[in-house]
């Protein structure tokens, strides 16, 4: 076959370029708009929550100190103290970390360092699927399985308790911790492992003395992200917490963390009561903000 000689001609075509430039500037504006939308939402939400939440302290003569450290929450008697809820939130989060972090880390180490490919192909998707389960289903699971279990085996009058919250939150933070930590461990250069093994270290010794320390900042990020998930969780917690307004002194106490307080009462609250729920939101938001700050610090250090 002979191909016809290609006529030499400029491929560019003068008149369509104007449209290209217009499209270009239009699309860059569209991108900018989309990007600004999330900033705008953030400002709106935060601004609204802060505006409403700070009102009673600025204009209503309520003491912020009494709000944070008061132990009574009785809206009908004009008593708004959230100390028990702050304590419940902190205990629940720390408890979930104590259980979730070791399990999550060992899972991540197992998946990235030890598991044969076939095993990994089963466990990895399972962990990722765990992340996709709607949180209300975790609550239902907690209510149907964990709560009765605690009731029967620990002899609690009411299985809904701090311990139930901790267990549910620990399971919920697992996928976050596992996925982020696994990625961090996988990113540790193979040459570190070889160097350690060539020095006569065992495989387990290599993992704990070289690989995990080298992935330290990624693992810290995993923990902080898991923590964020736990502290902000609402739906699952409502179902298993019991929601009593006491400062918890034992794992078996029924508790009401910050998130559930807002969710339970916002529906019918009005006036100062409603504003105090917004103020509860401010406290919760401050926790999250501190966490994000810590996370940013960690990843900045990891980048060095």
């Amino acid at each position: 076959m002979t191909s016809a000689p290609i006529e030499k001609q400029n491929i560019g075509n003068g008149k369509s370029n104007k449209r290209k430039y217009m499209l270009e500037s239009l699309s860059s504006k569209l991108f900018l708009f989309c990007a600004l939308l999330s900033v705008l939402s953030l400002l709106l939400i935060v601004g609204f929550v802060f505006y409403r939440g700070s009102h009673p302290f600025i204009a209503g003569g309520y003491s912020f100190f009494d709000f944070i450290f008061g132990v009574d929450w009785v809206p009908s008697e004009d008593k708004f103290g959230i100390f028990p809820m702050i304590v419940a939130s902190i205990y629940a989060t720390i408890g979930a970390l104590i259980i979730g972090v070791p399990i999550g880390l060992f899972t991540a180490i197992f998946l990235s360092e030890i598991a044969p490919k076939r095993v990994r192909k089963i466990i990895s998707p399972a962990v990722q699927l765990l992340a996709g389960i709607p949180s209300v289903l975790y609550g239902v699971f907690g209510l149907a399985i964990i709560v009765p279990f605690l009731q029967n085996y620990l002899g609690l009058v009411k299985g809904q308790s701090l311990l139930a919250v901790i267990l549910v939150l620990a399971i919920m933070m697992l996928p976050t911790i596992v996925t982020v930590a696994e990625t961090a461990i996988r990113a540790v250069p193979k040459t570190y492992r070889e160097g350690s093994l060539a020095l006569g270290a065992s495989e387990i010794g290599t993992i704990f003395k070289v690989v995990v320390p080298a992935a330290k900042s990624g693992i810290m990020a995993a923990i902080v992200l898991g923590l964020g998930r736990a502290i902000g969780e609402t739906m699952a917690v409502i179902l298993v917490a019991g929601n009593s307004l006491i400062t918890p002194t034992s794992l078996t106490d029924s508790v009401r963390p910050l998130t559930t307080n807002i969710a339970l009462e916002m529906g019918y609250a009005a006036g100062v009561h409603q504003e105090m729920l917004f103020a509860t939101g401010i406290v919760l938001f401050s926790f999250i903000l501190i966490l994000n700050f810590v996370l940013a610090k960690i990843s900045a250090r990891g980048a060095n």
Binding site: E194, G200, A201, S202, G205, P213, A214
Partner: protein
């Protein structure tokens, strides 16, 4: 056969009919050679010919790779290393230095003390002695003695590679394997490492892979020329470079390799 006659010193490592497969792909073909004690043996050859693969069979680093099959015998100090199951003991007897410096992200001290600690040595005084002795042995003590507690990754590439050598000799091995130890270094650092190798061979049996033929000529006593997973020629270094027996060796060492 002619290979055997060449060996004058005592053989430290005897390799016989070694074949290695990555899955279905064969990478080493009937490799046989005796490596002499307290000599430097250089492995040369074009890239992909199996030099690293061969080197890594000597301390069983290929065990880490899925699907590797090995047959043949490697006898070190009268022990067939693939018949004995104590890999850790083998690797404490054989130090390894890699192509790129691979110090751990910890202090210089902790890097050098890593191997002894993994063997259960905890006594501070003993560790201090080992660290100093090893860093002196690797001719880097004077450069790092004031910063032992700072991160090893702050050193230059050449310094890091010498600390890697210190880390390897901290185990008091008999044998040191080096896989292109200077390929990532500048000429001056390269020279320092070569001088160090000349020092080390008084005490250690050294096997070094290098793509740099001048380096092989400078540092080694014997040279093995690898091609496509086979040993084409193994002889006293001088002979390999000035009087090769095989045409392919001659083509390679004179740079006429195509």
């Amino acid at each position: 056969m002619s290979l055997m006659k060449q060996s004058e010193g005592t053989a430290k490592i005897n390799v016989k009919d070694l074949n290695l497969y990555y899955g279905d792909k064969q990478a080493l073909f009937d490799v046989s050679l005796n490596i002499e004690e307290k000599k430097v043996t250089a492995l040369i050859g074009p890239s992909g010919c199996g030099k690293s693969t061969f080197l890594r069979t000597l301390n069983r680093m290929n065990d880490l790779i899925d699907g590797v099959k090995i047959n043949g015998d490697i006898v070190i100090d009268n022990e067939d290393i693939y018949k004995s199951s104590d890999v850790i003991k083998l690797r404490t007897k054989i130090g390894m230095v890699f192509q790129k410096p691979n110090l751990f992200p910890m202090s210089i001290y902790d890097n050098v003390a890593y191997g002894p600690r993994a063997q259960g040595i905890k006594n501070k005084k003993v560790l201090n002695e080992i660290v100093e002795e090893s860093l002196r042995g690797a001719a880097i003590w004077d450069e790092v003695k004031d910063r032992l507690k700072s991160s090893a990754l702050g050193l230059s590439g050449g310094q890091q590679q010498r600390v890697c050598i210190a880390r390897a000799i901290a185990m008091k091995p008999d044998i040191i394997l080096m896989d292109e130890p200077t390929s990532a270094l500048d000429p001056i650092s390269t020279l320092k490492v070569e001088e160090l190798i000349a020092q080390l061979k008084k005490e250690y049996t050294i096997v070094i892979v290098t793509h740099n033929m001048q380096q092989a000529a400078r540092v080694s006593d014997k040279t093995a020329f690898f091609l496509n997973g086979e040993i084409v020629e193994y002889d006293v270094t001088n002979n390999v470079f000035s009087n090769p027996k095989d045409q392919r060796t001659e083509d390679y060492v004179t740079g006429r390799f195509g």
